[in-house]
Structure formats: structure tokens, C-alpha cells
Subunit: 260 residues, 2 copies
């Protein structure tokens, strides 16, 4: 493995996970940038790196610059980079590689995982989706990813977009369903712990079976009485709507696939 000098733009969830993993794998983190210097310093201290809050000061000797900011901030950030980086990559699921086209050497280094600053990944390596503007840059990013993960694949911008959209449903929306469940239990002073085996098994089941075939519950049985009762128990109009909307969607999807 060739160790790289890396600078990271951002200090949030993605920046934190990548900085720690890359540092642990033997790479050197030169600069951590954040708009707020205190945030840059917090992460920089963990990875023995320099902290900056002015992009124009980013180390021009960085072998790779990783942009780990929210999608909407990417163009603002890249507009402030006034030199030709050796290689620059963003880490966003929904942003095309073209967003970085004004740089000679650019690519995408997308961690396809839910990353929260203070939460370790416990289910194995982070999957990485790589794309680059040349086969040389592709190799550099692939090797960088392989130095911290055994799950590395090439993925073009269009496919990455689709994966990100699917992930919003499978991860973000799913987590929101957990949050609603937590809320319902809290209102009745029941600890969230009671749900944990069910949550884990639901996720485990689709590791080996299609979710379409794994669907259980009142909507999937079209059990109208239970659904009505549930709606009457919900504490807000918003949750009632959510309940009926998702239930109808389950019934619809079942109809559609039963026909096939």
C-alpha cells in the first residue's frame, strides 16, 4: 500500500469517520478544514493533523483532497480552491462527478453507509463506491478505499444516484420509523429496548430474503380492524396520516406483485 497525504474538507459525520479510518490505516492527514476553527481543531486533534478555516490555505502538497461537506456546500467550497490539486474527490451520493470537472484530476469517494460521528460502525467494513476521471485516478481512489475496506466497487454517477435514492428509503426513512416507534413507546413509558430484537431481525431477514416476500403485519394481511384500531391510538393527525399512507402503500405493492 502506498501511504497518501490527505486533506479533508469538513468535520462532520463523514469527515470524522474517514479521517479516523485513514489515519489508522497509516495515511497522513495534513489538513482538516471547517468553517468553524473549533470544529476543525476537534477532529484535527484526533488525527494529528493541522486545522484550518480558510480553504485557500489548504496544503497544496496533499496527494488527495476529500470533500466531506453537505451536498449544497460543495460548489461553494470548490470555488474557493484556487490551485490545481493533485487529486480531489467528493464523498456525496447524489452529486455527479461533473461537479468537479474544472479540476484536471478528480473523482468520487462515496461511503455507502450511515455514518454518525459518535457511533462506531459495527457490521463490517464501510462499502465504498468509486468513480474517477481517469484510470490512474480511479486506481488511486480504489487503493485508498481498499486500504480501509474490503467492500470497494466502481460505480458511475447515474447508478450512484439511484443507490443513494434507494438508501434514503432503506436507511433514512427506516430510521425515522424507528424514531416514531421510540416516540410512541416513550409516551407510554415503555423502554425502547423492547423493540430491539424485532428491529434487528427485520434487517437480518432481508439479508437472505427479498423484503417483498418478508412483509408481515396488519397491512400485509389487509386486517382492517387492527389498522383502524391502530389509527385511533395514534396521538397526532400527522402520525395517523403516516400510518394510513404507508399501510395503503403496502397493500398496493402486494396487489401489484401478487398479479405478477
Amino acid at each position: 500500500m502506498k501511504y497518501q497525504n490527505i486533506s479533508i474538507i469538513g468535520s462532520g459525520n463523514v469527515a470524522t469517520h474517514l479521517a479516523l479510518k485513514l489515519k489508522n490505516a497509516g495515511h497522513k492527514i495534513l489538513d482538516i478544514y471547517s468553517r468553524k476553527i473549533i470544529n476543525a481543531e476537534k477532529l484535527a486533534n484526533k488525527v494529528a493533523s493541522n486545522a484550518i478555516n480558510d480553504i485557500s490555505k489548504i496544503n497544496t502538497e496533499s496527494d488527495i483532497i476529500l470533500i466531506c461537506v453537505s451536498d449544497k456546500a460543495i460548489s461553494e467550497i470548490t470555488n474557493q480552491i484556487n490551485f490545481e490539486p493533485k487529486l480531489i474527490a467528493h464523498t456525496a451520493g447524489s452529486i455527479s462527478i461533473k461537479e468537479l470537472a474544472r479540476f484536471n484530476n478528480h473523482g468520487v469517494f462515496y461511503p455507502f453507509q450511515t455514518l454518525t460521528k459518535n457511533s462506531e460502525i459495527t457490521t463490517g467494513d464501510i462499502p465504498f463506491c468509486i468513480e474517477a476521471n481517469s484510470s490512474e485516478n480511479e486506481t488511486t481512489l480504489l487503493n485508498l478505499a481498499k486500504s480501509i475496506s474490503d467492500r470497494v466497487m466502481l460505480l458511475a454517477s447515474d447508478q450512484r444516484k439511484t443507490c443513494h435514492l434507494a438508501a434514503v428509503f432503506a436507511c433514512n426513512f427506516t430510521n425515522h420509523m424507528y424514531a416514531i416507534a421510540e416516540d410512541i413507546l416513550q409516551q407510554h413509558h415503555i423502554p425502547f429496548d423492547i423493540l430491539k430484537p424485532l428491529i434487528l431481525e427485520t434487517a437480518q431477514k432481508v439479508q437472505n430474503h427479498s423484503p417483498l416476500l418478508s412483509q408481515t403485519g396488519p397491512a400485509s394481511r389487509n386486517d382492517v380492524n387492527v389498522m383502524k384500531q391502530h389509527q385511533s391510538e395514534l396521538s397526532s393527525v400527522h402520525l395517523e396520516k403516516m400510518y394510513s399512507f404507508v399501510s395503503e402503500s403496502i397493500i398496493e405493492l402486494k396487489k401489484r406483485t401478487d398479479k405478477q
Copy 2:
């Protein structure tokens, strides 16, 4: 452990899992009832039991009769039982224990897990929620549950209802989000496998962290551009609505908890 003679009404997901687990634990399964004799026979063959499709013929010597049918079928079933069972219990999350009040000895034996016929539980024992009309019956059902699980608790009907409602969100709705994600990927010929690490980690994360604090994704960052782009990529008005409805719900919940 005292081995029991058990009869099971039903041959679906719950009946199948319970019959197999109870048989394996050393209990004797006397009768399996199903409306369709072929379904009763299929399961009965697996657990060396008798198959019936006439409830009036259920073995009156059964120590425990477990009702494992859909919620709406329970009263229809119990109306056909014209003797006094030694102990009868239903397995439904949303149905009060009172539904069985016309029997002298009755209770609830609720497996708080997502059970699909052809899918093994891989994340540990099934959690059981027990309720009964007397302490003696409670002990019998607790012991029966403990003979097949290390996760057994007492839970009153009201609390069980709340848990079942929360489970609809955390399990059934979550699985539907997986199914939508699968659908989106299929339309673009991307294998569902790519999502599996993310799905598992999302479920794993909330084993140790509150889902409220684990929320990631464009809605949680209020990233309007990505959300708009995602909606334009969705193939149906229904999914667009789902996307905006759940996204707004994430934003609302975040606002509410940020205020607290």
C-alpha cells in the same frame, strides 16, 4: 420443565414457528387445525401431530390451546370451541385478553418478533409477552415461553397494544421501505445486495443509540436540492408523495426535539 400437550389453531407464520420450536423443546403437539386440511397436514407432518379442519374435533385433553390465526378470525374460531379448555391463549399483539374471557382459563402468548414461515430467526430467541387471567395460568404460559426463549416478560393488554403499534412502524413499515428500495434498484438493474450492509448497520446503530439521534440523510440536513432531485427521479406520483411526506416528518421531528 414440565412437558405440555399442545394444540395449535392455525398453520401460518406464527403457528409454524411456534409448533416447530415447541416440538423441538420436547412438548407434544396433539392437533394442528387449519381451515384447509392440506395446510394443517403440511405443518402437522413436520411436528408429528394430528391434522384437523374442524375445531369441534380439537383434542379436549390439550393442556394448552394456542390460537395462531389472524386477529379478525379469533372470535370466529373461539365461538366454535364448545368445551372448557384446560388453558387457551391467543398470540395476537392487538387483541385484549378479554377476547377470551368466556373461558375459565385463558391468556396471551405473544411472540414479539417478525415471523415468516420459510425464514429462520437468526438474531436470538423470540421475545415473548405473557398475560393470563390467574397467577397459575400466568406461570404455565411463562414456563412454556421460557422452554423456548430466554426473552420472556409479562405485559398487560394495554402495553402490548402499544408495543404492537410501535412494531408496525419499526418492523412492518421499515420492511416496506426496504421493499421500495429494492423496487427502485431493480428498475435500474442494480442488485439489492448493495444495500444490505447499510440496512444492517441502520438497525445495529439503534441497538446502542437513540434513533432520534441517529437520523442521517438529506431530510435531516434539510438539503432541499437533494430532496427535489430525488423526487424528480422517482417513477411514480405515489413514491414522490411518500418521499415528501416522510421527509417532512423527519424535518418536523427534528425541529420538535431540537427545541427540547
